[in-house]
Symmetry: C2
Subunit: 425 residues, 2 copies
Amino acid sequence: MLGVDGYLGWATALHLSQAGHDVVGIDSLVRRRWDRECGTQSLIPIKAMPKRVSLWNQLTGRTIGWRQMDLRDARAVTELVQEVQPDALIHFAEQRSAPFSMIDLEHAALTQVNNLVGTLNLLFALRDYAPRAHLIKLGTMGEYGTPNIDIEEGFLTITHNGRQDRLPFPMQPGSFYHLSKLHDSHNIQFACRIWGLRATDLHQGVVYGNHTDEVALHPGLATRFDYDAIWGTVLNRFCIQGALGLPLTVYGKGGQTRGFLDIRDTVACVRLALEHPAAEGEYRVFNQFTEQFSVKALAEKVRAARAVHGLDTNIVHLANPRVEREEHYYNAKHQKLLDLGLRPHYLGDTLIESVIETVERNASRVDPVELEQPNVDWRRGGTAGWGKAAAESAAEAEPQPVLVLSSSRRRRRPSPRAAAARLAQ
Amino acid sequence: MLGVDGYLGWATALHLSQAGHDVVGIDSLVRRRWDRECGTQSLIPIKAMPKRVSLWNQLTGRTIGWRQMDLRDARAVTELVQEVQPDALIHFAEQRSAPFSMIDLEHAALTQVNNLVGTLNLLFALRDYAPRAHLIKLGTMGEYGTPNIDIEEGFLTITHNGRQDRLPFPMQPGSFYHLSKLHDSHNIQFACRIWGLRATDLHQGVVYGNHTDEVALHPGLATRFDYDAIWGTVLNRFCIQGALGLPLTVYGKGGQTRGFLDIRDTVACVRLALEHPAAEGEYRVFNQFTEQFSVKALAEKVRAARAVHGLDTNIVHLANPRVEREEHYYNAKHQKLLDLGLRPHYLGDTLIESVIETVERNASRVDPVELEQPNVDWRRGGTAGWGKAAAESAAEAEPQPVLVLSSSRRRRRPSPRAAAARLAQ
């Protein structure tokens, strides 16, 4: 389990451990460093890795081996694979934020080099020391972009000038992060072809929620929950905004449609892929999501969940910081995991309400500035002060009106006291 | 002109300078370092950059600005673009050998990181300091692989389940090098879409020949000519083998079909792209080759050219070190450069004979070991001693029979004296 300290990596490791698999968890902990760089933090407090795995052991009697390691270290990766002789490698250990990759050149190059080099290191280690192991790689539905035809699972049979071939689906990723996943996909597919490796590329949709059966066992097993403009995903952000009585901020027209899934389905999908491995030399793609929604429709769902309790919710449209189609055709297939036995948790009011409750329990940790204007623009990069917040907080700690939806792109970071005051308004 | 010290970069710089363009030439000179690492060298001696540009100035009165710089240095790239304010950037400055990228993990990662980071640095510098400049990027026909349908120029109109879209052509590159070019293509296409940059991606075939009108002006203006298993291309290798009376070594069945072009057409194509720039926000692909041949057919052409002079030529088939289809459909379009006015130099006996003459003039520089077995295998990587040759030359300087086509993959480097003796046999 590579990337075991992440939002999905931790939840997946617990799920597989609970299911009886022997799990070794690897992480460089860089995600926690990036939090410090970006001035962001998980809404839900998370424990240090040694504490988490030891708590898991106390609660369940099961062991997750924990090792701190950077996948960019080729020698360490080689030694790991040689020593552990894994049946499968589950690879979540990549920089996974699109806005982070769009901050500037440094973050774009960091994202692509980090992700490509880590995956290349794994591929060569597999070739040399565990050629029969199954690589399960977290990709993204964002590799496809938004073509005007149905999206198939990785491949498409194309007829052209009277001839036919089954070819990789044409891809149009929408950020340097999404591009890094596409580059990985091509490298992995090539390695399967020439070295006979076996790989499953999970083209995952946008994940929401923060509870799985295992995470829910104990508060100390919590997985991270991001809501800010760099690391957060859209439904999580809407739930937090809803819980705080803030307007839901839709980027642009909100017709952007994507595949979504519950975190409980993420961990189930990985287990299904693991327990039904790819064949020797096979590179296969599973589209890993359960439903597709437009951003606008998601905002309406959150509004409806609150209306049941007699609460009003405003929806506001912000200038879209991304360059993307805001009204488009979208019909992506996602049959293969269902065929393997996935039983989806569809998005319902219950989920939205449970997330809202989680937010309310952790309201003191919400930084309202993170819920304002997005701080990375696809055209211009990180807006002024996107990551300098921590250093500047003292100087800019004046109280601000709570609903700051101004057109200013300058980012302000209130002191904890000021933030609390704003939340209490 | 980025990569001005290379085989095509130098010839292109002279051609554009002669045509009246103001050329600034950039190179890190890493290609010469890689020659030392691999124990390879250009068949034709080439001058140091300062000597070449000063000779060009003496002969023509025209100036090529020369600067040594590594594209991986983001600050240097930014300052260059800011200072020069180019109308166009012609980007040949990448690691360009498929076998080099397949030696081992280190060379695979070096190739992808070097090529991606250099190109990302350029894209951001263009966005910030020269957004109207035209990026002309050397890609490769190898990005397409060998699909069972006609290959179009970069894009394909696909009808699927009753809907239609014009999408990037599905790609299946055949080495970590070819993959790096595909990754670049995706990054560049994205930058054009979100930042409005203009780019032409030249998906070039395999180049042969070593003379252009400008290079031919003076021996001191020669461009490099590679024939070894790492840097050489197939027709150049056959011509050298033919000139020395050695068998032509075909990898596998020889049905591998690719696009080819004369170096004179390379320089003309770049000029045509330069003088007919892409529109703002446009990412376009030109398939840059003039004819397609199978490897076997090329060997037959060399044999026929020698037969005219009453010379016999053997053709031998070696185990294919690459993983590729050896018999396949191949029909790649290449209309766009013809539409812009390209007048191709088709491959004829004259070209083959002129290359053979060049070889004969430089026969003393041929290392016959380089013409033996390929020393990088797609499955296993660099075979024993692929790059350790220089250090071992003294110990292994015993004379060898000239036609070493043994099954041993061990690489031997004869002393210069032994090599001369072998050639004289």
